[in-house]
């Protein structure tokens, strides 16, 4: 069994703000991440898939198929976007990197079989870094 990990990057802006909470509570909880006009990150996303090596191709994961899936489900909708206002998944939900990681993992899991219709490879996890120091990891098994 092999694990293949591919790294992608996209830049986007966000503002951490929970609509259920008061302006004061939002400022207290999120600090500078709650500044009203938002801010951005160069997000780095690592997608890990697991599977046996296919004899003919010598590959466990066809990375071209993976690239297409990630481009369609993650990069196209998120890159150079304001996550709060331009991505429907975050309507009324604070686009923390925890929630962004869960959403990326959910999208890849939901559409995985379009790219990989067989038993293998399987999506194992995604990892997203909003900065080099803050990193979030979501396992596919954790997502419904």
């Amino acid at each position: 069994m092999f694990r293949v990990t591919r790294r992608y990057q996209f830049a986007a802006s966000h503002r951490l703000h929970a609509p259920q909470l008061s302006a004061e509570e939002n400022r207290r909880i999120y600090g500078k991440c709650n500044h009203p006009y938002g801010h951005g990150h160069n997000y780095v996303v690592e997608v890990s898939a697991r599977g046996p090596v296919e004899e003919q191709s010598g590959c466990a994961v066809n990375t071209r198929d993976l690239d297409e899936l990630v481009a369609r489900q993650v990069l196209a909708p998120f890159a150079y976007r304001n996550l709060n206002t331009e991505v429907a998944s975050f309507a009324g939900i604070s686009p923390t990197s925890e929630n962004l990681g869960v959403e990326i993992c959910r999208r890849l899991k939901e559409h995985w079989h379009e790219a990989f219709p067989g038993d293998w490879p399987r999506l194992e996890k995604i990892r997203i870094a909003e900065t080099e120091r803050n990193i979030f990891e979501v396992k596919a098994d954790e997502i419904e």
């Binding site: 909470l21 909880i29 600090g31 604070s94 925890e98 803050n134 990193i135 990891e137």
Partner: protein, 141 residues
């Protein structure tokens, strides 16, 4: 899910086990046993396991995590000679393994709360050598 915070500290150490002879220490630790010590730019990654809160979307406040790691580890370790200045390394050889478990011991009570727990401590002694520590499993005997 895991939330990981990365920090750096620089420190010096010497790897010598007091119970071993000079010759055995040289054989066991090589150049790292030089009694005058040497230093590293350590990189520490602290990973906390949990699930984001339904309202805030956070597993824990990353600013709080940064402050805990700085207060409990970086302020004690940074720019120190570990063997002379940071207990328990007056008694315990400051190998990367022992540093990782000491950091775990310092952080676990500060991080474990309802809905979140310390998952792992990763210490890079150099970019080419790192240790992961996951705590001790509960006693099964």
């Amino acid at each position: 899910m895991f939330v990981t915070r990365k920090v750096e500290f620089s420190a010096s150490h010497v790897c010598r086990a007091p119970g071993l002879s000079d010759e055995e220490n040289e054989r066991r630790f090589g150049a790292a046993a030089n009694p005058h010590g040497h230093g590293h730019n350590y990189v520490l990654e602290v990973s906390v396991e949990g699930w984001p809160d339904a309202v805030t979307g956070m597993v824990l406040d990353l600013k709080e995590l940064k402050e805990i790691v700085n207060r409990e580890v970086v302020e004690l370790y940074d720019h120190r000679f570990l063997n002379y200045e940071v207990p328990p390394f007056d008694r315990v050889v400051p190998t990367t393994e022992n540093i990782a478990s000491d950091i775990w011991r310092r952080l676990e009570p500060r991080l474990n709360r309802e809905g979140r727990r310390l998952h792992s401590v990763r210490v890079y002694e150099t970019p080419d050598l790192y240790v992961d520590y996951f705590g001790e499993p509960p006693c099964s005997a």
